[in-house]
């Protein structure tokens, strides 16, 4: 069934969009990532103009994250206190990120920098997670006890706060810094930032994987809602029809994903996420390295 999108001004297959939304929704619920880093390239591929794809994707992530976080609330796997601290950092970071983004835009080459950002971050994070979870799986097979959390310099910082759900008693400075850093990257790369946030929470803050997913989703809702409003009021690029089609699939997928996620072991969850991140990274790296079929591209003039 073909449907004409009012803002994107293209005609697309409605079932294809429902399917894409569903697929990304499952991943979102399972891993606590918004799925923007997967969905945005997919939307480009089916012919949605990039500006519309990025803006609409943010709106769709609001829906799937909200659906996912409700499922996590029921299982009490959302650390609200940690989420709020991360969110405060995230919003500060997002505002800074928009400034950085506009500065890069004035220099030109913003597309390239976004892509390089993707390749570097996806590559590093995916690689580290993959190796770590592989080691964890091997250790459990051997029967060796998992390593206990070590006390490091992070525990020496002031402004300590108790995060009961995560079982942590740490300073608020590291989560705030993580929030700001992720916020900056999220604004530049046009995604919710879950794929950076999740590993940062696990490895930097030492949060348990089960809590990480819900907390990340909680934080993503607000960051992407902010982004949606920004795009809708400044660039007029949020396509509501496209968003509805994606999110109908997305919210259903997120529910299924959250249930799958709970049944899986933490190491398996992490290694799957790592593999997915590496696959996207590889695809983007190939685009940069191989000669494209069409060397020329069209863009709206004066839209800087």
């Amino acid at each position: 069934m073909q449907i004409f999108l009012p803002i994107a001004e293209v005609s697309v297959n409605a079932f294809l969009l429902l399917g894409l939304g569903g697929l990304v929704g499952v991943l979102s619920g399972m891993f606590g990532v918004g799925g923007g880093f997967l969905m945005t390239p997919l939307l480009f591929f089916i012919g949605i103009p990039p500006a519309v794809a990025v803006a609409t994707e943010a709106n769709q992530i609001v829906a799937s994250s909200f659906s996912g976080v409700l499922a996590h609330f029921k299982r009490k796997t959302v650390d609200l206190r940690m989420g709020t601290v991360l969110l405060i950092g995230g919003l500060i970071g997002a505002a800074l990120g928009v400034l950085v983004f506009n500065y890069l835009k004035s220099l030109g080459q913003v597309d390239l920098l976004v892509k390089l950002c993707y390749v570097v971050f996806l590559g590093v994070i995916g690689g580290l997670m993959f190796l770590e979870s592989l080691r964890a799986i091997r250790n459990t097979r051997k029967g060796a006890p998992p390593k206990r959390k070590k006390h490091n310099w992070i525990h020496g910082l002031p402004f300590k706060m108790r995060f009961r759900v995560s079982g942590l008693y740490i300073s608020v400075i590291p989560p705030l810094v993580v929030g700001v850093a992720v916020g900056i990257l999220a604004a530049i790369m046009g995604v919710g930032g879950g794929f950076i946030m999740v590993p940062a929470m696990i490895y930097l803050l030492g949060m348990p994987t089960k809590v990480v997913v819900g907390t990340s989703l909680f934080q993503i809702i607000f960051v992407t809602a902010f982004t949606t409003m920004l795009h809708a009021t400044t660039n007029y690029t949020v396509d509501i029809v496209l968003a509805v089609l994606l999110l109908v699939g997305g919210v259903v997928g997120a529910q299924i994903g959250a249930r799958i996620g709970v049944k899986m072991k933490a190491e398996q969850l992490r290694i799957l996420l790592a593999m997915m991140v590496l696959a996207v990274c590889g695809k983007l790296a190939m685009d940069l390295l191989l000669q494209p079929a069409e060397l020329y591209s069209l863009g709206a003039a004066g839209g800087h």
Partner: protein, 252 residues
């Protein structure tokens, strides 16, 4: 003396204007609704003349449909430090968002270079590119790339031999409008040519506009962007909550 001159001018001018176009369109308005998936417009007509049909040279018909023009930036990638990067860019001042040329025979046969230049008929002539930056020496390759990319998505069409002409009097053709269509006035021109020269020209326009929900949403997103944004968020939250509620209910 003066009446004689006027009469003389009329007699000389007469053969040029002796053939007129009477035109019909299957529709002069294209409505883009939710289920819009491209459209076909039938353009047909007749040649009205006072004297017998001249045998030679043969009559040819050219039909052009041109969408609203826009400025377009064409960028080119080059390999720098091992990766493909956008380097040079050329701004094309005016490129129609859609352009179709249909002719009754090969375009080169039905129109001379001079006439093409005068009336901007062929695709390269319909695009106006004034100047490229100093450092770019091959600006034509950017224009060619624009035509190549637009042709690939059916936005630019050169349909030679698709206008059928009967008895040098009746003509008809169909123009395929793709699904990705910009709103606006689509200028439609019909040329009658003999021996490569334009002997008659007719202009009309087709209005392409969004209707119903498409129109409403588009207008809202521009005129009341804040409300539109809130509406998008409200739908997202409602859908997220709805799915969660339904799944909870299903599990009980």
């Amino acid at each position: 003396m003066r009446p004689f001159l006027i009469l003389l001018a009329f007699v000389i001018a007469l053969p040029v204007w002796a053939e007129d176009i009477v035109l019909g369109l299957s529709k002069d308005q294209v409505s883009i609704n939710t289920s819009f998936d491209g459209s076909e417009i039938l353009i047909f007509g007749a040649v009205k003349r006072e004297e017998p049909i001249p045998d030679e040279p043969r009559l040819h018909v050219i039909v052009t449909v041109s969408g609203p023009s826009e400025r377009v930036t064409v960028r080119r990638k080059e390999k720098r430090f091992g990766i493909w990067v956008n380097t040079d860019a050329v701004e094309v001042d005016r490129a129609p968002s859609f352009y179709a040329v249909s002719s009754s025979t090969l375009l080169g046969l039905s129109l001379t270079e001079t006439e093409d230049q005068r009336h901007s008929v062929s695709i390269p002539r319909a695009i106006r590119s004034v100047g490229a930056p100093m450092n770019i020496t091959d600006s034509e390759s950017f224009t060619r790339a624009l035509i190549r990319i637009k042709s690939a998505s059916n936005q630019y069409q050169l349909n030679e031999g698709t206008v059928s002409v009967d008895e040098q009097t009746l003509f008809r053709t169909a123009i395929e409008l793709p699904a990705a269509l910009t709103e606006g006035v689509y200028e439609t021109r019909i040329f009658l040519t003999r021996g490569g020269n334009v002997v008659s020209k007719y202009e009309t326009s087709i209005l392409v506009r969004k209707v119903g929900m498409e129109r409403w949403l588009y207008a809202l997103s521009r005129e009341n962007a804040f409300l539109y944004g809130l509406m998008s968020l409200a739908i997202a939250i409602a859908a997220g909550w709805g799915a969660s509620a339904i799944f909870t209910a299903l599990r009980r």
